[in-house]
Every structure is written in structure tokens, then in C-alpha cells.
């Protein structure tokens, strides 16, 4: 609108309201004509008055009719460009398409209830800033995750709330483009909201039927064999691996012949240092523990903000299981030995990663 101000009279400052170097007539002075040589006289030359006073030029106000529609449009366009980036138009169309699909229910979930669209666009997108800015996660050995076919990722578990599982999911997705399919305890699926979100994010129950079915289907499946023993252990026992379940994950991998990828996560122990527990309340609520951290429940909801510890995630070299004979999964001794081997690998990696980390927060 500024350029179309045909009726606006421009009066340079410091001339006490009298026309200064410009005449104010529709015919520009020769000096002005010279300056505006490049552009034909379509635009009134007085709008382009030369000199240091030009920027401070004022113009008469238009009649007060609110903000013109064009300005609104420009503002919306600029805002969209600001938020969605340069090619905002197709992205906005995509976004509305996404919302329409969600509202109409026109999306596909797999047999386990995994909703890849909402996982990529909401869960992973929301967790990514946490991964990159808050915990500043360094990922090592991502090339050890097979780019195709089934694989079983076995990781240590810590941190009072399974944030490490979510961070591992983001890391696996960002470095390989594959979705990590976590196996969760039945408590996860019994809890309202948590269970729904877990299924939607690709989790399923940690039972051998589902594990084997998923591995046969060529998915990267994640297990945390320490379970609640690992995640709910006191801060004083940090980085000490707990018992690795009953080795069910190893026999599932052996039956399906997929490699086991050991994964060591350093940093999750410090996000909510567990210094106490309320066993009576936990029994009442039917959960394994009710945590007390230095900030929770003292600070209420603020205590739920995780401490910004520095994280390192290392994926170890895969352990092959397809070289064993067919009945090997039923050989308990072999299964226990392999379980121990995986556990030892993760424990040793944890120690070496800890020596590398300068401090908890750097």
C-alpha cells in the first residue's frame, strides 16, 4: 500500500511544513528526474525523494478503516513462511491433508496398532529437540544396526521413566530411517493413555509370540531385559546392570535367526536420580515403584523436568544367531551363556563410555 499512496503528500522534515527540495507538484524537478532515470514516470518521483531525510519521510494517514485485507494476507503469508519454511505452500497443504486424514480416520495401522504417520510427525518430532538440544545425544556405531531384515536391539534400562527407550527410538530412526519396535511389560498396556500411546508408537507386549512374529516380519525390535528392576533402581546403583530377565529375548532371536545388537545408553541414569521409593503407595496403585527424586514430588510438576545430562548411545557390533543349529533355542545352557555375553558386552561398553564422558552434564 505504501507504494500506491498516490494522494499522499510527502513533506521533508525540517522545512517547517513548506515544500523543500521537492515542489509538491505532479511534475518532478529535473534533479528528481535524473535520480529516477531508470524507472519511467509511472510512480510519482516525490515518493523517492533523495537525501538523508528520505527514510524519515512521513505521509498523511489514510482514513481509519482498519488493516487492509492485503496486509492481513501478507502477514499470514509471512508467518506461514516463518513457521513452515520457504516452500510453505505445499507443506501447508500437506499439513491440512494430514489433519483431514486423522479426523476422517483414513490412516493405516499395522497388526500391532503401530501408527507410523503419527509416530513420525508427532512423537519423534517432539522427542527430537529433547534428543538434540536437551540431552545432546551422541550416537556411535549406528552402522551396526542392519539396514534391512530383522534385528533384536538389546539395551540397558534406567532413568525412572523410560525416556531412554524413546531416545533410542529417535536415534535409530534418525540414523537408519527404520522404526524401532519396543517390547513393553504388560503394565505398560494396562495403564490408560500410556498403553494407547505405546501401541501407537509401535510397541507391543514382551511375549515370545509377538517378539518372534515381529522379528520374522523383518522389524528392528527393541528389548530392555532389565525391565522395572533396571529403570527403578536407586541412583546409588547407577550403571550396574540388573539381571537380564530369563533370557527369553535370546531364544526369540535364535528361533528367528536374527542378529542381536547390544546397545549401551549412558546419561539416562541422571535424568531423574531416584533417591527414594514409596512401596506402600506403589502397592496401592499397582505399579512397581513410586519414585522420589530430589525434585519430585517436592516441586510438583516442575520436578518432572528431566535433568539435562549428557548422553552417549553406542550400538555394539551385532552378535549372529543364525549359525546355531535348529534346536539351539531350547538349549538352556546355550541361551544363558549368550544372555551373559550380551550383558557383559553392554556392561563393558557402559564403563568405557563413562570414562569418556567428562562430567554428567558435559
Amino acid at each position: 500500500m505504501a507504494e500506491s499512496g498516490a494522494g499522499a503528500e510527502v513533506i521533508p522534515l525540517g522545512t517547517r511544513g513548506r515544500p523543500g527540495r521537492g515542489t509538491g507538484s505532479s511534475k518532478p524537478s529535473s534533479a528528481a528526474r535524473n535520480l529516477a532515470a531508470g524507472s519511467p514516470a509511472k510512480k510519482p518521483a516525490r515518493a523517492r525523494l533523495p537525501g538523508p531525510n528520505h527514510d524519515a519521510a512521513t505521509k498523511d494517514r489514510e482514513p481509519d478503516t482498519g488493516i487492509p485485507v492485503d496486509d492481513w494476507l501478507n502477514a499470514v503469508t509471512d508467518a506461514a513462511g516463518e513457521i513452515l519454511g520457504a516452500n510453505w505452500e505445499p507443506r501447508l497443504a500437506e499439513l491440512t491433508g494430514f489433519l483431514r486424514r486423522r479426523v476422517a480416520g483414513e490412516y493405516v495401522v499395522d497388526d500391532y496398532g503401530f501408527d507410523s504417520e503419527v509416530t513420525e510427525r508427532l512423537f519423534l518430532a517432539a522427542a527430537r529437540p529433547l534428543k538434540e538440544k536437551w540431552f545432546r545425544i551422541e550416537v556411535r556405531g549406528a552402522e551396526n544396526i542392519p539396514t534391512e531384515g530383522g534385528a533384536l536391539l538389546v539395551s540397558n534400562h534406567s532413568g525412572t521413566i523410560p525416556v531412554d527407550g524413546l531416545m533410542t527410538m529417535v536415534s535409530v530412526h534418525d540414523h537408519t530411517g527404520r522404526h524401532l519396535r519396543p517390547l513393553g511389560a504388560d503394565l505398560v498396556f494396562r495403564l490408560p493413555v500410556v498403553g494407547e500411546l505405546a501401541r501407537r508408537a509401535g510397541a507391543t507386549l514382551a511375549c515370545h509370540e509377538d517378539a518372534e512374529q515381529m522379528l520374522r516380519g523383518g522389524e528392528v525390535v527393541g528389548v530392555w531385559p532389565e525391565g522395572f528392576k533396571g529403570i527403578g533402581k536407586p541412583y546409588s546403583e547407577r550403571y550396574k546392570l540388573q539381571r537380564f530377565g530369563r533370557g527369553g529375548f535370546v531364544s526369540a532371536a535364535m528361533r528367528t535367526g536374527v542378529p542381536i545388537v547390544p546397545c549401551s545408553v549412558v546419561g539416562a541414569e541422571e535424568i531423574y536420580p531416584l533417591i527414594g521409593n514409596l512401596p506402600a503407595l506403589a502397592r496401592l496403585l499397582g505399579v512397581p515403584y513410586v519414585p522420589i527424586t530430589p525434585f519430585f514430588p517436592l516441586l510438583g510438576p516442575l520436578g518432572l523436568i528431566p535433568l539435562p545430562s549428557k548422553w552417549l548411545i553406542e550400538f555394539g557390533s551385532p552378535i549372529r544367531t543364525d549359525t546355531y543349529q535348529s534346536g539351539a533355542a531350547d538349549d538352556s545352557m546355550l541361551v544363558f551363556n549368550l544372555t551373559d555375553q550380551v550383558r557383559e558386552t553392554i556392561q563393558q561398553t557402559l564403563y568405557s563410555l563413562l570414562t569418556e564422558r567428562r562430567s554428567v552434564f558435559h
Binding site: 480416520g105 497388526d111 496398532g113 500410556v194 494407547e196 509377538d210 512374529q213
Partner: protein, 342 residues
């Protein structure tokens, strides 16, 4: 079998039973179809001899033996039907005692060659400890202690007993998933057609459904083919409950799961309807079925997947069902609720 089969079908007064009897009457290799039901049959069944008899009564033995029946199709095991219709006790009586009597009659019939039982996947129950997909040899993780699920487990127990005592009879047990279709009245379709659909807060069940026509086709195939065994029957793929309700365009309201199960018993007298306890559990955790046996051994391929069965149901009965209770007022709650549920 030069003369073809003589097939006895139970439960022909229900819509599905009647349609199955008619289909079998037209099938090649079937000489005669005898339809049995305790309720009078209100419509003409082409080519079916209707016998009004109660399968809970030993009289059924005379029908099985007297008519030289060689194939029995037990279709009348079903969940209580109709909104607030007859109570649980008669249904249970019909399912369990009826099956006992029918099997006793079958055991005494020397000419019997095949038995096809319509069981249900309700026997798998629903819980947070369920695997994603039940195969036929898995037991329920949370055994149904009441309702239709318990009936199903008892019925299947009797069928197994019969199979042991009469090893010469080919016994096929089908476990269909929840049925959906334009003509089927099932607890699930009653639920979907509530004016405002209550859902369990914080849970989103995985639903695997079967189109009514696919159940008929599977029953017909099992009857004509005679494959021994137990088979899950369900459409491919799953749909989440929230997704299904959005596709149907139903208004929803989230309630805590306990309130959902209690809705019917507490507010029932006030005219508020809701899912019964069993359905409420199903709507909380859902149930998935492994259908590999159905494809590979029984050789049945359903025409509809879960999603297309649901779409078909939405097309055939969507707007009509909503407007049924109060025709003039039905449009506005639907429209505003569409926004709420979105």
C-alpha cells in the same frame, strides 16, 4: 454319496442362520437341508424344511436320527441379541445346554459324518497381557469368567469331548471375530449405533472384524469341504476403535473404563444404553486373530478386510442407524459431535 448330503442347520430363525440354510440348499452336492429353531421362522426359506424344535430338548435326537442327517451345522451359538432384549440366562441356556443336547443327539446318530460349529473368538477374552494375534492353540490370557466368552469356552469343551468320543466324525470349529454388516444385529453393531458412543478413556482397542457374508461363506465352505480342526475366521488387518468411530462419523465421549462397564447396569433404568461388561473389556484392549490356518488349511479367503467390512457397514447403515431413535433431532447432535470426536 450319490444322493448328496442331508444337512441339519440349527438357529435358522435368526437372519444369518436362515441365510446359511438357503445358501446350503442351493449348493451342489446337498440333497436336503433341515432347518431347526426354537423360535418360529418369520420368512420363507427357499428349499429348506423347517422343523420347529428346541435343541435343549432330547426331541432333537429324533430329528437327527430319524431324518438320516449326515452333516450338522450348529449355528445357534451366539451372543445375547438386541438392545436390552432377553437377559443372559436364556441365552446361556440356549448356547450351553442346547449344544450339550445337540451333541448328545449327534453321538447317537450312526450316520453322522460332519459337524460344523460356529464358535467365537470371544473365548480368547481381552486383556493387557494378550499377544497381538491369537493363534488357534493359544489359550485366553485372561479367561472370560462370565458372558458369551464363558459360553464359548464351555461349548468348545463339549465339542472337544464329542470329537474324542466320535473320532469318525469330522469336526470343524470356526472362531469368527466380531461380526459386522448391514443386517447383523450384534453387540458391536448395537454399540456403534448408540446416539453418542462412549469409549474407554486412555485406551484404544485393536479391532479385527469379519463381514457377515464372509462368515456365511466360511461356514458353507467348512460344511461342504469337511476339514477337521479349529480355525480363526477374520478379515485382514486391524482398525483402532477411535479410527473406526471416526470412519463411521460417530460422536464419541471418553469415559473411565470402570464407568464404561457400569454405564448399562447403573443408568440402564434411565434409558441410557452402553456396552455390557464383556464388550467394554473388548473395547478397552481389543483382540487380534492369526488367520494363517484359515488360509492355508481351511483354504478360505475372506472377501472383506476389516477396513472394507467397516466401510461397507458405514455405507449401508451409517446415516439410517443414527436417525433411527429420534428422526427429527438426529442431524444436529451428529454434526456437532463430528467436530468433537475429531
Amino acid at each position: 454319496m450319490a444322493l448328496g448330503r442331508v444337512v441339519l442347520v440349527t438357529g435358522v430363525s435368526s437372519d444369518l442362520g436362515g441365510r446359511l440354510a438357503c445358501r446350503l440348499a442351493e449348493a451342489p452336492g446337498v440333497e436336503r437341508v433341515i432347518g431347526v429353531d426354537v423360535a418360529p421362522c418369520h420368512r420363507h426359506l427357499d428349499g429348506v424344511d423347517f422343523v420347529r424344535a428346541d435343541i435343549r430338548n432330547p426331541v432333537i435326537a429324533t430329528v437327527v436320527a430319524g431324518q438320516t442327517v449326515d452333516t450338522v451345522v450348529h449355528m445357534s451359538v451366539q451372543a445375547a441379541q438386541g438392545r436390552g432384549g432377553h437377559g443372559r440366562t436364556p441365552t446361556k441356556e440356549h448356547n450351553v445346554i442346547g449344544t450339550m443336547q445337540l451333541l448328545a443327539a449327534c453321538q447317537k446318530a450312526p450316520g453322522l459324518e460332519r459337524l460344523v460349529v460356529r464358535s467365537s473368538a470371544a473365548g480368547y477374552g481381552s486383556s493387557s497381557r494378550d499377544p497381538a494375534r491369537f493363534t488357534e492353540d493359544m489359550a485366553a490370557r485372561s479367561v472370560p469368567r462370565s458372558g458369551f466368552g464363558k459360553d464359548v469356552l464351555e461349548v468348545e469343551g463339549y465339542v472337544r469331548g464329542f470329537s474324542r468320543r466320535r473320532p469318525d466324525v469330522t469336526v470343524t470349529t470356526l472362531r469368527p471375530a466380531h461380526l459386522i454388516g448391514s443386517r447383523t444385529e450384534s453387540p458391536l453393531s448395537d454399540y456403534f449405533s448408540l446416539p453418542v458412543v462412549p469409549t474407554p478413556f486412555g485406551f484404544d482397542a485393536r479391532l479385527q472384524l469379519l463381514h457377515e457374508n464372509d462368515l456365511l461363506a466360511a461356514m458353507e465352505l467348512a460344511t461342504l469341504q469337511g476339514t477337521h480342526g479349529t480355525f480363526n475366521v477374520a478379515g485382514d488387518g486391524i482398525v483402532m476403535l477411535s479410527q473406526a468411530l471416526r470412519r463411521l462419523g460417530r460422536p464419541t465421549i471418553a469415559l473411565p473404563s470402570l464407568a464404561l462397564a457400569g454405564l448399562r447396569s447403573v443408568l440402564g433404568p434411565a434409558g441410557v444404553s452402553g456396552p455390557d461388561r464383556e464388550l467394554a473389556t473388548y473395547l478397552t484392549f481389543g483382540c487380534g486373530l492369526d488367520t494363517r490356518q484359515m488360509r492355508e488349511v481351511l483354504g478360505f479367503v475372506p472377501e472383506h478386510s476389516t477396513a472394507s467390512a467397516l466401510a461397507e457397514y458405514a455405507r449401508s447403515s451409517g446415516p439410517a442407524r443414527v436417525s433411527m431413535p429420534r428422526a427429527p433431532q438426529s442431524t444436529s447432535p451428529t454434526a456437532e459431535a463430528g467436530a468433537v470426536s475429531g
